[in-house]
Symmetry: C2
Subunit: 421 residues, 2 copies
């Protein structure tokens, strides 16, 4: 499809989306009414920028089904994800939405050069069942053989890969990094692997890591992008040229905005990715702020596709980090601490990757006037905090309690030691 | 469908199955040839009993794809399950197999009175991803709203149930038992649950438990039956009359045999369930020994269905137990111990259910002549054993090391304290 045709299709679908949202979703109707406008006042793709953003906060609070554009009986799938304070967000898919998601997942695989001759092993943790299912449906549509293997124990995952001659692995970078570490230590017999392609999803990774992984394991690694709130996966994917990720523009309209002012930025400039869904029935989203930092690449890709590309995700606008596939925000930690009460709100998050495994620790000061001489009591508080934190977030964590003021005057809120040059 | 029609359909499909197995699966061709017979020598459903059984052992060892009747490129799904010694068994489904499995899963739900207005939450652990997907596909086909929520943390699962007004929960009895324990302690606000039906799968439970659960939670609990090697779920299911489980006979032929002699037993007598698949393309199975003890019920069910029923599963023919959805055999424990070497082969398995959570412990004697005075060394050995056992089986376990002879002369190999009167 030529760019002009894509634009035309996007414009037609945008009109339908705005009308549906206005007629069926209270939140959006209010948004239009507050501004004294109607969907027909948006007269071009560019006009979209006069509408406000949708945020994660809009998806939480009140009725969990408030953003749904169809009655619950037309929904065939519900996925639960998390808001910034850890509260659940529910996303609903109609049968038509699932068809489109499956198609986009299939495109993702095709773009990465995966075909029906492949044996695809899909491994994601519990918390990412939506991604696991998304890839599953796409791979089945493709007609490949699929091994859904949802175990985080890496050595067993490798055994299955060996035994069933998987040619493609789809997983988290942090999981793949553990496979790599085992291979580096000689714990994986490389000759017994049939692996040729690896699709990564859900976490950032660095080009330098990718080079190391590819060299040792003799595989081609492809980065993919999606969001539970929209399509996990199915928003964008690298082609084999790997010069950025192609965006599935027939179904999604993207903008890059200045995270502070909200102003739309021109192609090539770095900012926050904002997405408007063009075909979603269940939960259409208008100008959804993803929190992900990237830029639009306008040069034609050497693969020949006319789909616009975005740079691989460069970071986040908010104070969030992803640990073992689970996103956690500073806000959620704060919310946890303010409910926990035995600790102060002065804290610091530290993420490290050791032997391919990510770990999270929290340094937090005891409240002013706390008795810092009773080691036993301090230990009890910290293990209680660890337990409650794990229960709430599903992330194992180490709490290091400091004396009041122990963090000093100025300190970074998040230290991500996984970042490499 | 009348019984005569069912029988006719079964007979037609059996002939196709035997022919396909003979032509396409080396294992079955050899079986026929060794007996000097050909598929056409089987002239009625009853003649089937002259053929030998297929066992779990036939599915392991050698080429993992040896039982496949189609080339790998026609397989769209591979599920990995475990043999008796813990070695993996792979089961392949063609696209047609998936369609039938989905249909049978849908029947299962219909039989339990679940419809498209329901919101169905599906919760299974990692190890049971095949069951999770099986129910998922069936529920989607039904047009219900499905929440795939694969987290074993019970309190979060309950939150999701409350928040999204799930009307049906599909899970393991041991998981549901934890929900019940929380409700009993008042940790679940019963009025905030919309739950009406619970489908249980994958583990035994007792009628007395079901009564207690139903009374407190005001739900209707339905038992279902399936096997990863055949259809998980999709073999049999209780109807609302709950007078045994209806078998999906259009796709499966069942026999009850004496577990020792292998002789076919008449209806009403208790023995081992043996299943022949009638429509499976990928991995057809002839006279597959399930290891499950039950009997055939011949009286017509009050629901009116002509499908034959089996009693709910009464036990196992082999020394296996299911802990948190994972089946473990005495053979696998022995195999583990003989590889571990620091311990003897005199052991006893104990399973308990505390506050709804199942736990496994192993009492095992130290080898003759072991130094039983070094507590530190013994402790080290036992934690090493626990770690390695967990790595291999995925089941958390407690090892209690005894002095040589500590188990006494005669001792039961398995003590299942979950059994109630």
């Amino acid at each position: 499809m030529e760019r002009e045709e894509i634009k035309k299709l996007q414009w037609e679908r945008l009109q339908v989306t705005l009308n549906r949202a206005f007629l069926r979703v209270g939140h959006y109707r209010k948004m239009f009414e507050e501004r004294g406008i109607e969907p027909q006042d948006i007269r071009s793709l560019e006009d979209l920028s006069i509408l406000p953003f949708t945020t994660r906060e809009d998806l939480t609070g009140g009725d969990p089904y408030q953003m749904f554009a169809v009655p619950l009986r037309d929904i065939v799938r519900l996925h639960v994800t998390k808001g910034r304070k850890g509260e659940p967000i529910v996303v609903g898919f109609t049968s038509h939405d699932l068809d489109i998601w499956t198609e986009l997942s299939q495109y993702t695989l095709c773009m990465a050069g995966i075909g029906r001759e492949d044996v695809i092993q899909i491994t994601f943790p519990f918390s990412m069942s939506s991604a696991a299912l998304g890839f599953q449906y796409g791979a089945e549509k493709l007609g490949a053989a699929v091994i859904p293997y949802w175990d985080t124990e890496v050595s067993r995952g490798i055994e299955v890969m060996e035994e069933y001659r998987a040619t493609c692995l789809i997983t988290l970078p942090s999981y793949f990094s553990q496979v790599f570490e085992k291979a580096k230590k000689g714990e994986v017999k490389l000759s017994s692997l049939s692996l040729k392609k690896v699709l990564l999803y859900g976490e950032p990774f660095y080009t330098s890591e990718r080079d190391e992984w590819e060299e040792l394991l003799e595989v081609k690694i492809i980065d993919t992008y999606g969001l539970t709130e929209i399509f996990p996966p199915g928003i964008a994917c690298e082609c084999l040229a790997r010069e950025g990720m192609h965006v599935f523009e027939e179904h999604l309209l993207i903008e890059i905005v200045d995270p502070t002012t909200g102003k739309v930025l021109p192609s090539g400039e770095t900012g926050e990715l904002v997405i408007t869904t063009l075909t979603k029935e269940g939960v259409p989203l208008i100008r959804y702020r993803t929190g992900d930092i990237t830029s639009i690449i306008t040069e034609k890709c050497s693969c020949g596709s006319d789909l616009v590309r975005i740079e691989r995700i460069k970071g986040r606008t908010d104070n969030t980090i992803v640990v073992e596939g689970i996103r956690i925000s500073a806000e959620e930690v704060e919310d946890f601490l303010s409910n926990f009460k035995k600790l102060s709100l002065r804290y610091q998050l530290i993420v490290e990757r050791k032997e391919g495994k990510d770990s999270l620790s929290v340094k937090v000061e005891l409240p002013p006037g706390a008795d810092i001489t009773s080691f036993r009591a301090i230990e009890k508080t910290s293990s209680e905090a660890e337990e409650k934190f794990m229960e709430r977030t599903g992330i194992p964590v180490k709490f290091h309690l400091l004396e009041p003021g122990g963090l000093g005057e100025k300190y970074p809120l998040i230290i991500d030691k996984r970042k490499r040059s």
